[in-house]
């Protein structure tokens, strides 16, 4: 059970070309499932967490390819006060997060729904470029 006095962190730092990335999504899912609260809500949250981690990692692999660290990715899951936080770091050129459009239902494009999922399912989403890379920060209230 989750104790708000704890601030556990779970992370991955390594190659983006690895089967372990799937594991991070599953850890996010299990973390959500293990929180206090209504079970059915937690099951939905568990799915959503796995989905946003998967989408963020896919995105980082797609846009994070610019230099010698291009195949590296860092993912951090944490519980901070009343938020479940996911941070996905990449070391590429990044992209203009705010410019990503909402998918047009009439267009039926095969692409472009990842950021939409992240924006729709998380309470706070921020994309920052820093000196050491880019970070997509996503938070979900859990209390």
């Amino acid at each position: 059970m989750h104790d708000v006095r704890d601030h556990p962190e779970f992370g991955y730092h390594g190659s983006s070309q690895t089967r372990y990335l799937r594991l991070i999504g599953n850890i996010a899912e299990q973390l959500a499932r293990d929180l206090d609260g209504e079970k059915s809500d937690r099951e939905a949250l568990a799915y959503h967490l796995n989905l946003v981690v998967t989408e963020a990692v896919t995105n980082a692999i797609q846009y994070g390819c610019a230099n010698e660290r291009k195949d590296k990715i860092r993912i951090l899951l944490s519980i901070e006060n009343s938020d479940l936080c996911v941070r996905v770091y990449d070391y590429g050129q990044g992209f203009d997060f705010e410019a990503v459009p909402t998918p047009d239902i009439d267009e039926l494009s095969e692409r472009g729904r990842g950021i939409f999922f992240i924006r729709s399912l998380m309470d706070h989403v921020e994309y920052r470029k820093t000196e050491s890379g880019n970070v997509l920060e996503m938070k979900k209230r859990i209390t």
Binding site: A44, Y47, L51, E55, T58, L108, E110, R113, F117
Partner: protein, 66 residues
């Protein structure tokens, strides 16, 4: 017909692959339908409004009876 009865998880790439199949079927003037969506998978179609695009059946049996 794509039976999604055993699919517990779908992301934007999965939806994109199904959309590709749907568009391909339209081009060839043939049918393309989905069956057996699990509730959480179905919720992702609803969130993206793609449930309006696809022909969706509760299960494979219902789909084949049509």
């Amino acid at each position: 017909m794509v039976d999604l009865g055993d699919v517990q998880f779908i992301d934007s790439s999965g939806l994109g692959a199904l959309l590709s199949g749907h568009k391909n079927a339209i081009q060839r003037s043939t049918g393309f339908a989905l069956a057996g969506l699990q509730p959480r998978v179905k919720a992702m179609f609803e969130l993206t409004r793609l449930q309006r695009v696809f022909e969706i059946y509760p299960g494979l049996r219902e789909a084949l009876d049509v």
